[in-house]
Symmetry: C2
Subunit: 135 residues, 2 copies
């Protein structure tokens, strides 16, 4: 295995991407789902901070580059099929979502409708206009 | 919104699917990543147990149907973009992975290589020959 052998072990999809689940290393809360390319994962390791592939912008996306809400990598895992990643991170600023919330999964299915959960430390901590979508 | 309004709120991908992160409702451990279609999510709600869409088989997949390792739904969440689901489940039998392990993310990146983590309650609890891949 060469230097990039661990990248070859990943079953990238037809677009060259794999989904990355992002989990708070301390609390265990799932923060967000993002996508990674070979290059973004390689950069993530180099920097020690999460670098994703933005499908909407078609470019690498160093999470936090405009918001300051970087994700420091604590652990990276791969699943049994090699087609999904799990990143355990330290979320700088405690805000993972571009809406200003701690995490992206704030819609809870309740009796057939999606309810925005604002309680339990799930509400907005920051003004979303301060950073761009996807950051 | 009609009965299926909550399904319309999801940004299904070009294949009609959305990734579903599956998390143990008690421990917070991420168990696996699966894919859902409209029909699989509707069936999940009806049954109260996870029903996914198997991309390899191109068919609905009632998780546990051959292994008995069903996933009882405790909560369903949707992310800010509406294109990723988070399921909090009770994992029957404590085994989510078709390899017989508690969870699918047993490969940990360690100094440029994927290491299978067998310690910390992560080893095989069951003979994987007992159930088919993806179950």
């Amino acid at each position: 295995m060469g230097e990039a052998g661990f990248l070859d072990a990943i079953a990238w999809n037809e677009a060259g991407l794999a989904p990355a689940i992002v989990q708070d290393a301390q609390s265990g809360e799932v923060l967000m789902l993002a996508w990674m390319s070979r290059e973004s994962l390689a950069r993530t390791l180099e920097m020690g901070e999460a670098v994703y592939f933005s499908r909407s912008r078609g470019a690498l996306w160093h999470k936090g580059e405009t918001s300051g809400h970087f994700q420091k990598i604590r652990e990276i895992r791969l699943d049994c099929d090699g087609d999904a990643l799990l990143l355990k991170v330290e979320q700088v600023g405690g805000i993972a979502c571009h809406t200003g919330r701690p995490r992206c999964f704030f819609n809870r299915l309740d009796n057939g409708s999606w309810i925005i959960t604002e309680g339990e430390g799930e509400g907005r901590l920051s003004d979303p206009s301060l950073f761009r979508k996807g950051d």
